[in-house]
């Protein structure tokens, strides 16, 4: 229940003595991740902006993965999902993930199709 906290992060790699200490630890981690994101966004290393994976720049994949990492720690430690019962946690996490993945798949494919219609010249859009 809410009163006893699981005090390990990174699968037990880092253990904290109290919940307060864990909160500060997570803050430090989130700040580091944000700093890395901003630094990459300003520098934009050439080898990351010129290599692609599944049609998207490697740099953008890194941003999205780091965002999901941040989201995980906010949900698990700030929103106490780590301390909730497993069924509750699964209901909360997997339902939106499933629906959002479906939505992303459908809409981005459709958008790419429309992009092709435009670029193949079926519609005049730049005059």
């Amino acid at each position: 229940m809410a009163h006893d906290h699981k005090l390990e992060i990174f699968r037990g790699l880092v253990k904290f003595k109290s919940n307060t200490q864990k909160i500060w630890g997570v803050l430090i981690f989130l700040s580091i991740v944000t700093t890395v994101e901003v630094a990459l966004g300003i520098i934009k290393p050439r080898f990351l902006t010129h290599s692609h994976f599944l049609g998207m720049k490697l740099l953008n994949w890194i941003f999205i993965i780091l965002t999901l990492v941040k989201a995980y720690y906010i949900a698990w430690d700030f929103m106490h999902l780590r301390d909730e019962k497993t069924p509750l946690r699964r209901v909360i996490v997997w339902t939106p993930i499933f629906l959002v993945c479906y939505l992303i798949f459908i809409l981005l494919f459709e958008a790419d199709y429309i992009y092709n219609v435009y670029s193949d010249g079926f519609i005049t859009w730049n005059f």
């Binding site: 999205i64 929103m79 069924p87 939505l103």
Partner: protein, 324 residues
């Protein structure tokens, strides 16, 4: 004989009184709300992705749009948004510290941490208002073509962006302001841009070191710069001057970018604002000792869940609007 008849329900799964999820009604309902709200935000962000993939080759580059920091002149992409992100994460931390203090029934600490959370939220909303104002006011000014594409200007010598004021001619204007007494069906007249189309075009023809930059992204992921000859023919397609951004025109590039910016950050800002209001209500309840008398601080935990959710959404908005 009583082996088959039992009125005791405590060891029966179907007897009721079970709490398989181990969460109170209120907390569960907060999670319900957060999940539906998360799907709403996902819908918005995926719609943004849809429009962006549709116009993938002409989408504005966020680094070139959000370049200002209050009280500083110059070009500082990202820094201010990074600051806003940090403020929101920090206020999330004070919120979770308030929840923690609530579990230990420390009224004084809860009051302090709730107060800090409210201050953090207020700073964030204020920053967002400033960001909106800067975005609406605009930077350099641009021209819009017949098809709604944006033409921006670059100084050929320095490679820096050129503002309309740098080269536009001042031609005595014959344009009269439309007033209600002159109109049969008068709705109003929008404010005129600082320069007329004619002034910008004539100024452009007279200044040889100004080039046009189109929205099209090249191989390097940068906006295409036309040479002088191409620029002179491209400017004939322009039909109006655009300064700043609103829901219809956007000097930074594709108008859908501005629409989604206003819609998504606006919806998020509204969540932060309502979060601050709810936090204030709970804050006063804590001061009055409501939860001390109730024996638990679960309300602080529930409002905390909402507050962290707002932070969580910002993490995604930050990535998809400013980084990617």
């Amino acid at each position: 004989m009583d082996a088959t008849v039992s009125t005791g329900t405590e060891d029966s799964v179907w007897g009721g009184g079970n709490k398989p999820l181990g969460a109170s009604y209120g907390k569960m309902m907060m999670w319900f709300f957060i999940m539906s709200d998360a799907l709403t935000f996902s819908g918005f962000l995926v719609a943004y992705g849809f429009s962006r993939f549709k116009f993938i080759e002409l989408w504005p580059i966020a680094d070139e749009v959000f370049t200002h920091v209050p009280f500083f002149h110059g070009n500082y992409p990202m820094y201010y948004v990074a600051f806003m992100t940090f403020v929101l994460i920090m206020s999330s931390v004070t919120m979770v510290l308030a929840v923690d203090a609530g579990h230990k029934m420390k009224q004084k600490s809860v009051i302090l941490y709730m107060f800090l959370t409210i201050i953090g939220g207020a700073i964030f909303v204020g920053s967002q208002a400033w960001e909106w104002a800067t975005f609406i006011k605009g930077d350099y000014g641009a021209l819009e073509t017949n098809s709604g594409r944006i033409l921006q200007f670059v100084d050929a010598e320095t490679g820096e962006r050129a503002a309309l004021a740098d080269f536009a001619k001042t031609i005595p204007d014959e344009r009269e302001r439309h007033v209600e007494s002159e109109g049969i069906w008068f709705y109003g007249e929008r404010s005129m841009p600082s320069y007329s189309l004619n002034e910008v075009v004539e100024g452009f023809k007279a200044t040889p070191n100004i080039l046009i930059r189109t929205e099209q992204l090249n191989e390097e992921g940068e906006k295409t710069l036309l040479d002088r000859k191409e620029s002179l023919s491209k400017i004939l397609e322009a039909n109006q001057v655009v300064e700043g951004a609103n829901l219809i025109h956007n000097e930074y590039g594709h108008r859908l970018f501005a629409d989604f910016f206003f819609f998504i950050t606006g919806f998020h800002g509204f969540h932060v604002f309502s979060g601050v209001v709810i936090n204030v209500i709970i804050f006063f309840n804590v001061i009055l000792g409501t939860y001390e008398r109730r024996g638990h601080y679960e309300m602080v935990e529930k409002v905390g869940l909402y507050w962290h959710f707002v932070d969580l959404v910002w993490v995604f908005v930050f990535t998809f609007f400013y980084l990617v």
